[in-house]
């Protein structure tokens, strides 16, 4: 019974995850596909030729833009969240509950409202339609997420490990680098990945703050979809999902069986 269940698990996951992708794949290869047929009437590489040749420059530029924005957002999130989450996880201080509520705000409030609200300010600050501006608006929700993830890590973290390292002769700086960082690394990767994926999938906030100047993949994707060309939209979608998928696989391998927090 159990063996059967285990044997069925992997195929089931594969189907659940794979089916939407398969549909996208079929769409991207369809030359003609009309209702009510279950299968395209004609196949062809038109959409892929469009993505890689005709619009190749645009797609490549958007890919680079997306990677740059998501990487920057993810790095800043992790670097800022690390000390903040450490303080929240290890120490009790007044205002901790307030901080917790404030942190959930950007997560609850729709990105649209945040972006609209920030837009005027960003114009005044000269951040509108800039790379920094887009990263900044992504940070409003990526950073709280990263803080939450790392807060959890640090509330399971035993600071005595650091005291032990100090007593064994490590300076404060080396304790942070050589004891704390390796201990929270799995959590740090998860937090970074969350921030990356969240930024990667942003459309509205990028559009509002970027003002069309910063064309990330989702922005390009929506533009192409607007033209009603489904095979092309499907091909761009695949280009959009693949890097995120690779990032996920990479970190899954990196985490391989490790617990998220340092062992108490």
């Amino acid at each position: 019974m159990r063996a059967l269940g285990t044997r069925l698990l992997a195929p089931a996951i594969l189907v659940a995850v794979g089916l939407p992708f398969a549909t996208l794949g079929v769409w991207s290869l369809a030359e003609r596909w009309f209702f009510p047929d279950l299968w395209p009437q004609a196949w062809g590489l038109r959409a892929w030729r469009y993505v890689f040749a005709t619009a190749g420059g645009q797609v490549a530029a958007a890919l680079v833009q997306s990677v740059a924005v998501a990487t920057a957002t993810s790095l800043v999130s992790v670097v800022v969240a690390l000390p903040a989450a450490r303080a929240l996880g290890l120490y009790d201080f007044r205002g901790k509950d307030t901080i917790s509520v404030l942190l959930t705000l950007p997560v609850i409030v729709p990105p649209l409202s945040v972006a609209m609200g920030l837009h005027l300010w960003f114009i005044r600050l000269g951040l509108a339609e800039t790379f920094v501006g887009v990263v900044a608006v992504h940070l409003t929700f990526c950073l709280p997420y990263a803080v939450f993830v790392l807060w959890g890590v640090f509330s399971n973290y035993n600071p005595d490990f650091e005291s032990q390292a100090r007593s064994l002769g490590a300076s404060q700086l080396r304790v942070w680098r050589q004891v704390m960082l390796p201990m929270v690394m799995p959590g740090l990767i998860v937090a970074g990945l969350f921030a990356f994926l969240l930024s990667w999938s942003q459309y509205l906030s990028t559009l509002i703050i970027g003002g069309g100047r910063l064309t990330t993949l989702p922005v390009l994707l929506f533009a192409l979809m607007g033209s009603g060309d489904r095979p092309v939209a499907a091909a761009v979608s695949i280009v959009f999902v693949l890097p995120a998928f690779v990032a996920l696989l990479f970190s899954a391998r990196h985490l391989g069986g490790q617990s998220l927090a340092g062992v108490r």
Binding site: N158, S163, S167, P182, M183
Partner: protein
């Protein structure tokens, strides 16, 4: 190599006083047990000596040099925590070499020192093991090895045996005693277990609620407690009130002649250990014996503990005699030389 001197240490957590006016001197190469119940402030004192916590007042001297203001990594004092705290992302030998690496020793020297200490702590062949593959006892030994390999002037051990089961504890105790006397490392050994403190060291310091109550040999603390709290901590449950009069301590349990005639007319408290009270079951009238009734008993292996109700109060007796039962009439003798009268 390392004499440790703690002078007048007072320690607060925030505004909360935790340790007050703590004084202790440990000779070079000596091992002293710091004994006290949970929450007494033992770990706090170790952290202050290790430099992980700053005292509010007082000084720490190693070989006469004040180290009070030095950061932990600059002190020649290494603390071993209650939990092994092995770095989970390092294997056994990397853990042991951690301090050497921080100190800047070459790879060669590190390898040699680690091999030597692995043998000393009976961990041969486990150098490449992952930390989570080790048993609790092995983990504790790695923690010990990781500190010993640094050959510190002062070793601070915080209840290193409390996480081990009884058999392992005995083994580890012998190992620590052996290594300590072989290397002659000045050691402050913290424990909450009175039996362990008495076994481990020539001198015991008893800490109650952040105050040092008595320092002395195990026998002194056991047989000549400085005050009723110390006696109570060591399981002396019998307290007798009385008055000094002309070389005699007069109590409800009878008069006891005493040597030192002091404080004539003053009220005093005395104690007698449960195992020092003699219990007989003969009902015939015995001179110097108090009649009593057994209220309840508890079998403790080598002896039986009996709560005996006498006309002048209840006494706890530890007797090798078996077959006592509740309600039984017995007679007790309190040998005068076993009575310990507390100074005022």
């Amino acid at each position: 190599m390392g004499a440790l001197s703690l002078k007048n240490l007072t320690i607060h957590y925030g505004r909360q006083p935790v340790v007050a006016d703590f004084d202790l001197d440990i000779r070079d190469g000596e091992m002293v047990s710091l004994l006290g119940p949970s929450g007494a402030g033992k770990t706090t004192i170790l952290k202050v000596v290790a430099g992980l916590l700053a005292p509010t007042r007082g000084a720490i001297l190693i070989d006469g040099q004040a180290v009070t203001d030095l950061p932990p990594e600059k002190r020649d004092a290494v603390m071993i925590f209650q939990k092994p705290l092995l770095f989970p992302f390092m294997n056994v030998q990397q853990n042991i070499a951690f301090g050497l690496k921080m100190r800047g020793d070459s790879g060669d020297r590190r390898a040699r020192a680690v091999a030597h200490i692995l043998a000393l702590t009976r961990l041969d062949g486990l150098g490449r093991r992952k930390v989570h593959e080790l048993s609790g006892g092995q983990q504790q030994r790695v923690a010990l090895a990781r500190a010993l390999v640094l050959e510190p002037a002062i070793l601070l051990m915080d209840e290193p045996l409390s996480n081990l089961d009884a058999n392992l504890r005995q083994e580890m105790r012998e190992l620590i005693l052996g290594i300590q006397s072989e290397l002659g490392i000045t050691t402050l050994f913290v424990t909450h277990d009175q039996a362990e403190a008495l076994m481990m060291s020539q001198r015991v310091a008893l800490l109650l609620e952040g105050r040092l109550r008595q320092v002395g040999s195990p026998r002194e603390l056991y047989h000549r407690p400085a005050d009723p709290d110390v006696a109570r901590f060591f399981g002396g449950d019998n307290f007798i009130q009385g008055r000094m009069r002309d070389g005699v301590f007069e109590t409800d349990f009878g008069p006891f002649p005493v040597e030192a005639v002091s404080g004539n007319g003053h009220r005093r408290t005395a104690t007698i250990r449960p195992e020092d009270i003699q219990l007989v079951t003969d009902t015939g009238d015995q001179p110097d014996h108090l009649p009593g009734t057994v209220k309840r008993t508890r079998f403790e292996g080598m002896a039986t503990r009996a709560w005996v109700s006498c006309p002048s109060g209840e006494l706890v007796v530890l007797t090798p005699r078996s077959g006592l039962s509740a309600g039984q009439a017995v007679q007790l003798r309190l040998p005068p030389e076993k009575i310990r009268i507390f100074p005022d």
